[in-house]
Structure formats: structure tokens, C-alpha cells
Symmetry: C2
């Protein structure tokens, strides 16, 4: 059909997005920011409206053999709200597009919506619309979210300056290790259906995979402290990938310190059990949905004792030098592995 | 897994949506209207923001064996903009969620985006974001659109009063007959791959299926004439289904006249060729994306000579009596067949 055929896998997700972005121009004066950040920014009088869309596909983003439908509904909403948090905005409305194959019963759809509603209640977000349709194959969930922020409070990926402090919330790598545990238990179950899942020692990491939260608590706390991050992104594809996005968008270099990267004990132990290096997992494991942001040094005093914000490095003026300083003092260039769906 | 299993097919799409809607309540004061119209309405200062989402799935909504990718991209955008038109609003931004299986090349994605961009340019809408991911099976396209309208100009499904004039734009049933022609040619091709498609006598109906337009032209003309429809909906599932939505939402009865229902000659002839009754096709064929609306009688003078607005009946005070008066004068109750994906 076409003379030339280039594989998407070769170009990669970000390469494909760049290709699309290059040909897109904005016509409406209300379109303040288009493709390239966690959410689009649209002028709406005093406030700005933030808009983001995520798509979750069965067999790619989730496996129903270990993902309960309520958790899936909750997660589909939470990960999308995380994009609004990453703009320093407050999510207010969502729409849900749902493609359902005939193996789903009405009761199954109700379980899914139980999770969706639980997330809506938890984050004070309204489900205002959507589209429900049949699917010829697996389950498809598309969530769009509308958020709101004052124009001067929005945190873009582009705003980091040199000599700022790089912060990350919570801990990293847990969701990835949870996925490894769930995959292992699935294989055990497939070879011996009478086997009971052994998740006892892995509750924390499994919870990180099955029930991630958008860090709206941090957004509210930063607002209370009168801190506007100079740049921000959420950690969906892994710390390495996200910090390189910030570096590139802001045109600053970053230096991270291995001993400052927050890793939960359960994540650490599970990584060793799987013969994986915990720091590699923390740098490259996806789906943690923590917030990665930069603050001006003058704001440090206000947050220095915050139990859930970690100061993992700083920016500098060489945008091509993005490095991790290991515990032994070695300088390691940061490379994005991220998620490769294609 | 579940004790009780109810099939979605039995409940139907609208039954399922009602079930979901019943359990949803709105918390944010900015959520002016949630599920139940063509788009959600969100407070945004002087204006309102309108939000709508549509999902198109391969094997359900389109068949790539006769749907060129550019057309598909164009159609995915146009049908979503039609939801904003149906609120009497102006679309301004869209996001695209795309699930791609590995049989799609970069070139194929570029063709799809050519169509998406063509629609954006034609309707002066900005592509501001989205999500691109792998798909384990077919092509998935999810479009969300943000539109804008002054609060007092929004046309809801609920606003029709008794003794108002029911209007429909363009002509009906063409997209459905186009689909029949394309399906027939596909069967011919499958049994004899050397056969050339015979679409010559069916250009109009095939065009209606492959390249529908959102009737933004009508929205602009109504604004110029200073007419705000008292109620409005777009014809995506067939006239019968849509007029019953208006009747129910507005709590008025409707009387339509068969001889007033606009049917293009090509649609009429193609229906006869397929041994189908043209009026049944016009009443129940989906995907025309024309606008169905009611106006106050005082506005009739302003539009009575409009070449593309047809006056097909009127509302009355018996909400349970929704009828079509046949050419022979018979009173036929209107029943929704609509699209049954499930």
C-alpha cells in the first residue's frame, strides 16, 4: 500500500510524538500551550483550563488476570489526575471513554465504575461524560481530565533555572517491582492453578502497582507553603526519562545523587530477590506517579523538613551533562530507558 | 468470578449509561452539566467550556479495508466536533488518544494525522495534546474536544417547549446507505480480488459515510440570524433515536411528517436498489451528523427560506405520543432502532 514502511518501534513513542508535534500549529488565541507538557493549557478568563488525555489498553497497560476491575478504574483516573498535579493544577472534571468486549457483564462494568467513582470522590473530581461502546477485542479505557490553575501558578516543564534544587516525592521503583511480583505469581498460577499467590512479603510494592495515587496532597501543601515549583513533571515512565524531559525542556543540566534517591525497603528487598539493582529500578521503573520538580533555593527552608519530599540533586548550566553521582563518587550519565510499549 | 451475570446487550448502550449516570453526583460548582447531553458544560467565567469524548474502535466503528486513513482521521475529529455544534458551541481544542498495533507503520500514522490536521484546519480547531500507545489488537482512536459558548447561547436537549418547530439540516440516511455499498463491494472483492469496486453510482452516499462534516456552518448562520435553538442534538444514531432523546429530555411530544423528511435522490435510489424502504433508512440510519433542533415559531420567518434547514414537524404537549405521519396519513409511533454495537 505504501512505498516506504518505517517501524514505529524504531522511532519510539517520543520520536513519533515529536514528528506529530512538528506539523501542528495553534490557531486559537485560547490555546496557550499545546503538545509537549503534562497537559495542554487553555485560556479561561481569570483561570486557565488544563486538559490531558490518557489511554489504557488491555494487554499493554494492564492484565486483568491480576488487576481487579475496581483497582483498574481507580488507577485509570488517578494516573490521569497526576498529569494535572504535574502542572500544579487542581483536577475538576473527567470524561471516560470505554470500549467493552462481550466478555464483560453489566456487573463487571459496575465494578470498574466503582473504582472510577471512588477515585472521583477521593480527589473531588466530577465524572461529567464519556462514550461507552463495544470493542472487538480487549478492554479500552480512555480518560480525559479538565483541571484548573491560576496562570501564574502553573508549573511547566520548561521553567527550571540553573542552581535550583531537584525534588521528588515519595519513593521510586515500587510500582515496577510490584509488576514483577504479580507477573511471577501469574506464571506460577498458570503452571499450577492450585497454587496460592504469595504476595505477603510484597504488599507495599504490589499496592504501588495496583493502586497508585496522584500526589494532590503535595500540590495542596506546596500551595499552603506558597511555593510554585519552577518546573514539574510526574514520574510515569521512570525518573531517568522524566529528569531528561525537564533538562531538555528547561535547557539546564542536572546532577542527581544516588544516595538521595528514595527507595522503600520493600522495593529494595524485592529488587534484590529478583537479582536486580535497586538503583536501576528506582531510576527506570515506571508508574510510580510521584512528582519530580525543581524549586528555587530560597524556597528550601520552607520544605526542608517535609517527610515526603526528597532533595535528590540540583540543576547546572551545562544542559548536555545529565549525570548521577554514585555512592562511590562515580559520575554516571543518565540515560532514559523508560517504558517501551512499541 | 461474579455470582450474577447480566449481559450488556440486554441492557443496551443507553440502559448502561443510565445505570452509570444514576450513581454519579457532581461536587464541583464549576460542573454545570454532567452526563446526559452532547457535551458536558463547565463554568469558565464569562463563557462556558464544553467537553465531549468519542471513541472509535476498529472492527466496530470502522473497517480499514475500505476506510482510507486520512478519511478516518478527518471523520474521527468531525464527529466529535459535531457534539460541540449540537450544544450551539464553537470547538477550539482537541486531544487525540491513539492505540496502534504493530501492523501500523510510521507512514500510516502520518496519513491518519494528515486527516486529523485537515479537519483541524477546516474547523479552526487546535490539536493540543493526546496519548500515543501500542495496542495489542486493532486501531483505537479517542478524541476529546473542548468547545466554548456563552452560557445563554447553549442549546440543551432539555429546552424544547410545546408548539415549537422541529428542524433538521441536510439530508438523512445517506451515511447508512454508503456503508451498505462499501460492505457489498468488500464482499465482492473478498470473493474475487480482481474485481474493481463499483462505486460510481453511489458517490454521494459513500462520501456521506467516509467524509462526514460537523455542521458548524449552520451554527454560524444561526448565530448570524440571532437564533438560539430551544433544544438541539446531532443525528449520530438515526433521526428516530435522536428525536426520542429530545422528546424525553424536554418532556414534550413530537409529530413528524414523512413527506418533510429530507432524503437525497442518491440515498433514495440506493435504498431501493438494496430493497430497503428509504424512509426507514432516513429514520434509523446513523452517522449523518446533521443537526436536529427546535425553534420558537417567532424565529420561523428568519429561516423559512434556508435551503439546508428542513421543517419536519412540531412539538406538542403529550410527551408519550411521538409519531410519524406517513404520506398516506397513517399515524406511526416512532421507535428507536439506532445503532446496536453491543
Amino acid at each position: 500500500m505504501h512505498e516506504k514502511r518505517s517501524e514505529i518501534a524504531q522511532l519510539g513513542e517520543f520520536g513519533l510524538i515529536n514528528k506529530i508535534k512538528q506539523k501542528v500549529s495553534l490557531q486559537n488565541s485560547s490555546s496557550l500551550l499545546g503538545i509537549g507538557d503534562d497537559a495542554a493549557v487553555i485560556d479561561a478568563g481569570d483561570d486557565c483550563v488544563l486538559l490531558s488525555t490518557d489511554m489504557l489498553l488491555e494487554g499493554i497497560h494492564f492484565d486483568l488476570s491480576y488487576m481487579p476491575l475496581q483497582h483498574l478504574g481507580y488507577k485509570a483516573v488517578a494516573v490521569n489526575l497526576s498529569d494535572i498535579a504535574a502542572m500544579n493544577g487542581k483536577p475538576e472534571q473527567i470524561t471516560i471513554g470505554l470500549g467493552l468486549s462481550n466478555r464483560f457483564s453489566v456487573e463487571a462494568v459496575e465494578l470498574l465504575y466503582e473504582g472510577i467513582r471512588a477515585a472521583c470522590e477521593n480527589y473531588n473530581v466530577d465524572l461529567v461524560g464519556g462514550d461507552t461502546t463495544a470493542s472487538a477485542s480487549g478492554l479500552v479505557i480512555s480518560v480525559s481530565v479538565i483541571g484548573r490553575a491560576k496562570k501564574e501558578k502553573i508549573a511547566y516543564r520548561t521553567g527550571a533555572k540553573v542552581n535550583e534544587i531537584i525534588c521528588v516525592t515519595g519513593d521510586l521503583g515500587g510500582a515496577y517491582m510490584g509488576l514483577q511480583v504479580l507477573n511471577r505469581e501469574k506464571q506460577v498460577f498458570l503452571s499450577d492453578p492450585s497454587a496460592q499467590p504469595d504476595l505477603e512479603d510484597h504488599e507495599y510494592v504490589v499496592g504501588r502497582q495496583l493502586k497508585p495515587e496522584a500526589r494532590m496532597d503535595i500540590i495542596h501543601e506546596l500551595a499552603d507553603l506558597n511555593i510554585v515549583p519552577t518546573s514539574m513533571i510526574d514520574v510515569s515512565d521512570g525518573l531517568a526519562s522524566e529528569i531528561l524531559h525537564l533538562s531538555k525542556a528547561s535547557n539546564v543540566g542536572v546532577k542527581l545523587f544516588e544516595d538521595k534517591i528514595p527507595i522503600d525497603n520493600n522495593t529494595f528487598d524485592t529488587a534484590l530477590e529478583f537479582k536486580l539493582d535497586p538503583i536501576v529500578i528506582a531510576m527506570n521503573g515506571g508508574e510510580d506517579y510521584e512528582l519530580l520538580f525543581t524549586i528555587n533555593q530560597t524556597d528550601f527552608e520552607k520544605v526542608k523538613n517535609h517527610p515526603d519530599i526528597h532533595f535528590i540533586g540540583h540543576t547546572h548550566d551545562n544542559a548536555n551533562q545529565n549525570v548521577l553521582i554514585s555512592k562511590a563518587g562515580t559520575v554516571v550519565p543518565i540515560q532514559a530507558q523508560g517504558w517501551k510499549h512499541f
